[in-house]
């Protein structure tokens, strides 16, 4: 049984088939990239997994559990974190509190305990802080710890979003175009971090990406999509050579 599995996943908007009977599987500990031209349905698949959209048909399994009907906030509780293509950070909060929201799925305290800030709440806060501090160190975010998001440069925000996802200690992380808008150096950093996430933190990565050099460097396997359908699956080189993929990108 695969670690994560999508079976015949479809998302139709009226007559438009954004995702059309897509099946794929992610093995534990691998980095799987989804590539495809604009409008191929890559981000839609992510939005299906994190339940922003309801699938028209098909099922999603994670750790042998059917998560198709789970409410969106429970997806994170199961250990699936994500980043967004167009950064979705909490603009008017500090980097630190953004990252602490990432810890939300591990918070166990009740409202009345928090109102009184009982010692248990304080102890929990310190545990959260320690974890967040580890992520800050992992992604070199120390200079920005107490800064407001509004006012930070785009590249940093991108990293903070990754950090927030990592703070939830996910088992599976969904990266929606991690390198979009980043310069060459920042993309290099990103590729190291994605590999380190896999090797050091043991996170399974599912990634949508346009930058083929990044895909080539980090991916264990690649899926190519077009018009909501899977064109090819395999290693980065195999997929890029596949005639259908070439046709999709360059025209037949």
């Amino acid at each position: 049984m695969s670690y994560f599995r999508a079976e015949n996943l479809s998302l139709h908007f009226g007559g438009l088939k954004a995702v059309d009977a897509v099946s794929f599987a992610v093995e534990k500990g691998e980095i799987l990239s989804i590539i495809g031209p604009n409008g191929a349905g890559k981000s839609s698949i992510f939005n299906l997994i994190s339940r922003i959209y309801r699938p028209t048909s098909g099922r999603i399994f994670f750790e042998d559990q059917d998560i198709t009907e789970q409410p969106p906030n429970d997806i994170a509780r199961l250990g699936i974190a994500r980043t967004f293509q167009n950064i979705e950070l909490f603009e008017n909060a500090t980097v630190l509190s953004n990252l602490l929201v990432g810890r939300h799925r591990h918070s166990t305290t009740q409202l009345w305990q928090e109102l009184l800030f009982l010692p248990g709440v304080r102890a929990n806060e310190k545990v959260h802080r320690r974890r967040v501090e580890q992520v800050i160190e992992f992604l070199d975010l120390e200079p920005y710890r107490d800064k407001l998001i509004a006012g930070l440069p785009y590249g940093v925000r991108k990293v903070i979003e990754l950090a927030r996802a990592l703070c939830s200690e996910p088992k599976l992380i969904l990266l929606d175009e991690p390198s979009s808008g980043l310069n060459v150096e920042e993309t290099d950093d990103m590729s190291f971090w994605i590999r380190d996430m896999k090797s050091e933190l043991g996170v399974t990565v599912l990634m949508v990406e346009h930058d083929m050099s990044l895909v080539n460097r980090v991916s264990d396997r690649v899926i190519a999509l077009n018009y909501g359908r899977v064109l090819a699956t395999g290693s980065a080189a195999e997929v890029q050579q596949h005639p259908d993929v070439v046709a999709a990108y360059l025209g037949a």
């Binding site: 939005n47 950070l89 603009e91 909060a93 602490l100 918070s107």
Partner: protein, 383 residues
């Protein structure tokens, strides 16, 4: 300039980051504690209203400032708290019991209002809360067996531990102050724990909050309930302070006053609620002054500039007529809101921070410090 050298996670958690805070808030508390023995009874009465308005301001900040759900219905929550107190008092229920009962009941009503609000955003939510306020106002006027309709209800002086506490006594002031301080401390505690951060997350991006595991619906309802419950508690004190309540006290105008409290005080910090409450309570004496003394003063000025007695008298009556125009108060509120939104969106507290920084950095202060650049337009697709 002070540099904080943090060596412990507690440095970020504690409410007073350094000793300067302890000193200044200690002095403030001391001043508030000796106030009843120094200030005139008129100012004390105003101070009690400041405490009550500030409590409502904190409640509204939780909902509007931190969770991002605007409400123009807080006068209704205040009314429910006030009427619960007045009604239960008739059956000789002791103060602590009906005080808490008012909080619980208002909190439940707040949660009920929160449910339909889950599907509404921005201006639509404002309209929904206004309609809720109208419904409550109408119920208060019609449900005569409980509320005595438009005739209103008398509220007896409260008795605490067998002692009668008159609404003008220092004890009543201390009670209001204690409620305010406890509310502020509780809210600060909330804001530094997961619930408070979930509120802020919902305010800034519901999609991201959801993808981080925040149950958006649950936390919105929680925010409504907490905010309403605190307002209900303030309502009990409000009823006791006025000693008489009737439906026309809890109109849209009052809800707008509460919005002004947080808008003018500053919507991003609890300081704003207190500063805004001082502002709104003190604007009444100012308007009275405008009505009573302003015409004479202006006529005097006109006379010194060589206007004859006839002209001066004419000026005086014109100014007096203007100052007693109906709806002048509402107009002044409107102008104040507009000016603040345009020129000081961070409110009085934001202005105070700028003044503080000016002196800390003197002579290096630059205006651009507080300028926010919007460098990225957020996608609205996933709303």
């Amino acid at each position: 300039m002070r540099f904080l050298f943090k060596t412990d996670y507690d440095d970020d958690i504690r409410l007073f980051p350094h000793s300067g805070y302890v000193v200044s808030y200690g002095l403030l508390l001391a001043a508030l504690l000796i106030a009843p023995y120094v200030l005139s009874s008129y100012l004390m009465s105003q101070l009690v209203f400041v405490c009550i308005y500030a409590t409502v301001g904190v409640a509204l900040l939780i909902l509007t400032g931190f969770t991002g759900q605007a409400s123009l219905g807080h006068a209704a929550f205040l009314a429910i708290g006030a009427y619960t107190a007045a009604y239960l008092q008739k059956y000789n229920v002791p103060f602590p019991v009906y005080f808490l009962a008012a909080g619980v009941l208002t909190g439940c009503v707040g949660a009920l209002v929160g449910f339909p609000a889950l599907r509404l955003q921005g201006i639509y939510l404002v309209i929904a809360t206004i309609s809720f306020a109208f419904i409550v106002e109408e119920i208060l006027a019609r449900w005569e067996s409980v509320t005595n309709g438009n005739e209103g209800l008398r509220v007896k002086a409260l008795s605490l531990l067998g002692v009668t506490v008159s609404r003008d006594s220092p004890t009543f002031y201390f009670l209001c102050l204690a409620v305010l301080v406890l509310t502020i401390v509780g809210t600060l505690n909330l804001l530094r724990s997961p619930t408070g951060r979930a509120f802020v997350a919902i305010r800034d991006s519901e999609t991201a909050a959801r993808s981080m595991g925040v149950n958006v619906a649950l936390y919105k309802v929680k925010s409504f309930a907490i905010s309403a419950a605190i307002t209900g508690l303030a309502g009990v004190l409000f009823a006791h302070k006025l000693s008489f309540i009737s439906p026309e006290m809890f109109t849209l105008q009052l809800s707008i006053e509460f919005i002004i409290v947080i808008l003018i005080g500053g919507i991003f910090s609890l300081h704003g609620a207190v500063l805004g409450a001082i502002f709104i309570v003190m604007i009444d004496p100012f308007l009275t002054y405008l009505k009573d003394d302003m015409p004479g003063v202006i006529a005097g000025i006109a006379a010194t500039f060589g206007a004859g007695p006839a002209t001066a008298g004419n000026v005086q009556s014109k100014v007096a007529a203007f100052a007693s125009l109906n709806g002048l108060k509402g107009a002044i509120y409107g102008i104040i809101i507009m000016l603040f939104v345009l020129f000081e969106p961070l409110g009085l507290y934001g202005r105070w921070l700028k003044i503080k920084l000016f002196f800390q950095l003197f002579p290096l202060y630059k205006r651009a410090t507080f300028k926010r650049q919007k460098i990225y337009v957020k996608s609205e697709r996933n709303r």
